[in-house]
Symmetry: C3
Subunit: 167 residues, 3 copies
């Protein structure tokens, strides 16, 4: 499994703040035995975010593209809007499950505006910006990402559950 | 209550696979004392799905239109996108409740991309493709469908709860 | 905190029914120590709803704009559609949390079609129309509204949690 990680942060993009969330996500992905094939840091600019995500999907550089940052209420938080422009098919259940999971930890979980969806054969998932919240949200969806990608890539399913889940 | 059931499946449309989900849903609907007035099987083609749904609503052939299949991650799964094009007003709470219910059974529940919404006086609800998952999801929303249709059709409410729920 | 409250109801707009939900919400807001700076009652007309919400946001007359009514299944219930036209960035977690909370009280909770989102520096939240359901839904999001507005207005955070939550 090839995973790409995009950190969205004005301050990290300007080199004023170390990107802690990207490396934290990478550690989690690699602990799963997966490979991080792309990483990038961009400012909170809708077009910059959209362009990176589209390139990763269109050039098939990863099966899953994770973003961290820009999903909140600050005026420059536009990662969900940029992601909406990139995806062709939305997968709302992933975002709902991540929010429901974080709501169990803190009521602030309901403030995450993240979305998830599919562009071509790549699944894009928005995660929060703090290292802790990003990792918690990834943990929520991690158990289903392999199956999601198998369906998306039309790979044979281990337990013969393909027909059931694809529908 | 008149219910229409649309099975979305390439293989069933080609006659290569028996449609098990449509009949399973019909049994559940009839056990409720409701009438299945329309059934159809179409391929995973956005325009074909949209056209059937629109005709059922525009010709008022049912109060509720259920779909089964095409809500997953496979490349040809486009039932939610076709449904979005058919509906005029979204009813996200139904889809959220079905996913939350199926998440309690399996983490794969978060992969359902189904939507629900209203076109004219008909409620459209996307259900998963497997017979079991389709029936479980229908069971989740079944208790509120009668009330939803009463509001949609401006029928008097049994318990005088109209004002409360319509608002 | 300045809060605006919009009651959406044909009958209240015609003076045929007393608006009970608006005052009930006002009492809850004031009990929190916040100020209600705007109130209005409009009919279930998409353009009328949209126009009031946009004016309140564009003239910065409130930090939070609450609506009550028009989120259900009746043919004239169009508050979510009007709100979608007003907002620039959606905040789906607030609507999901309100529905999940009301589902714990009644299965009819899944019929609320309310949305939440941001226009400029104002957060708009759709609440149901009945006084009881409107107040219950407001109670669900009340604990996070102050923090949401702090982020939206780029105000310093009390507990230094700004960086964590803004992302």
């Amino acid at each position: 499994m090839r995973v790409a990680i995009l950190t969205v942060s004005d301050r990290s993009a300007r080199g004023e703040r170390e990107d802690l969330s990207g490396p934290a996500l990478r550690a989690l992905v690699e602990a799963r035995g997966w490979q991080v094939t792309q990483t990038a840091v961009v400012a909170d600019e809708r077009e910059a975010i959209r362009a990176v995500l589209c390139r990763w999907c269109d050039e098939d550089l990863a099966e899953v593209a994770l973003t961290t940052g820009g999903t909140g209420f600050a005026p420059r938080d536009v990662t969900p809007e940029a992601t909406q422009q990139a995806i062709e098919r939305e997968a709302p259940g992933l975002a709902e499950a991540m929010r429901a999971g974080s709501l169990a930890v803190t009521p602030h979980g309901m403030l995450s505006r993240g979305v998830a969806g599919i562009r071509r054969r790549t699944l894009i998932v928005n995660l929060p910006g703090s290292p802790r919240a990003a990792c918690e949200s990834l943990q929520t969806v991690l158990p289903v990402l392999g199956h999601a990608v198998d369906l998306l890539r039309e790979r044979p399913q281990a337990e013969g559950g393909h027909r059931q889940m694809s529908a």
